[in-house]
């Protein structure tokens, strides 16, 4: 049975205005995204040996702190290689974001 791919579009499934690093700094933080959206999806993909495809388009932009907290945080908890094996990215608005995120996952 082919494992299903999990799709996340941040602008639709979380927010169009990604915020700060920690939840106590404001709404739609990287920490909130990690806990409520990214980590559950990653765990499901990890269990089913499938991929989480994350679409980064149609937001107002991402601060370093948001990206580092969300994706760097996931890598610190589960390991860089494991995370890279189960995440895939789409970013037509800003293609270099993908390289930036990979840099936070595996510095």
């Amino acid at each position: 049975m082919t494992p299903t791919q999990i799709y996340i579009k941040i602008s639709k499934d979380f927010t169009r205005t990604p915020g700060a690093r920690k939840m106590d700094e404001g709404n739609y933080s990287g920490e909130e995204f990690l806990k409520s959206v990214l980590e559950p999806a990653y765990l499901q993909a990890s269990k089913e040996d499938s991929i989480v495809q994350i679409n980064l388009d149609d937001t107002e932009g991402y601060a370093t702190s948001f990206l580092e907290e969300a994706f760097g945080g996931l890598a610190r908890k589960y390991g860089s290689n494991n995370v890279l094996d189960h995440l895939d990215f789409v970013s037509n608005d800003e293609p270099l974001l993908i390289e930036e995120i990979r840099h936070y996952i595996k510095p």
Binding site: G19, E25, G26, G61, Y62, T64, S65, E68, L96, E99
Partner: protein
């Protein structure tokens, strides 16, 4: 046919001059030695061959390379211009406590523009097929973006710490990488 004539007008002109001189040379008060020296003939033929290679192959190739270099250099200059705008805006808000949401929104958009210009530069470089190793500016840019928008940037009370010199240091490092890339591209053959 017209395109060929337009593209090779210099070569055609010199050919016609050569033919005209060849047919009219006897009208001039000149005397020629009638013995044909084989070495001179070889010399003439080799000179003609070199002229053809330079004119039809090397010179156009050199022109194509120059066009590619100019495009890449202009892209890097555009990035430098945008970075200069970002630095100017950043200097303006240095005293603000906290910095405004309007500035933050503008900065995010400007950084996104720089990111996309760098991506465009990468794509263009790949098309040029230079033998020289492609400049990698992304790490310096990521570091620059991190110094400006890391450390609680989206916190409503965020302000830039005037005592910290790393904002300027990361900008200068990125600028140095870009200038170095421009020099290397210009020298590349």
């Amino acid at each position: 046919m017209l395109k060929f004539l337009a593209k090779n007008k210099a070569q055609i002109l010199f050919f016609l001059i050569g033919v005209t001189v060849g047919f009219t040379i006897t009208l001039f008060p000149l005397s020629f030695v009638h013995d044909i020296d084989p070495l001179n003939m070889i010399n003439i033929l080799v000179t003609l061959l070199v002229a053809l290679i330079v004119g039809l192959y090397l010179e156009p190739k050199n022109q194509d390379s120059r066009v590619e270099k100019d495009i890449l250099i202009s892209q890097l200059n555009e990035i430098k211009l945008l970075l200069r705008e970002i630095q100017a805006g950043f200097q303006d808000v240095y005293d603000e406590n906290p910095i405004s949401e309007g500035f933050k929104s503008k900065l995010r958009k400007q950084l996104r523009s720089v990111s996309n210009l760098l991506y465009s530069f990468d794509e263009t470089y790949n098309e040029c097929g230079f033998s020289y190793t492609k400049p990698t500016l992304t790490p310096a840019f990521i570091n620059y973006k991190r110094t400006l928008t890391g450390n609680g940037f989206d916190n409503p009370s965020f302000k830039y710490d005037k005592a910290e010199g790393y904002y300027n240091a990361s900008y200068l490092r990125l600028l140095r990488e870009i200038n170095s890339s421009i020099i290397k591209i210009n020298k590349n053959t």
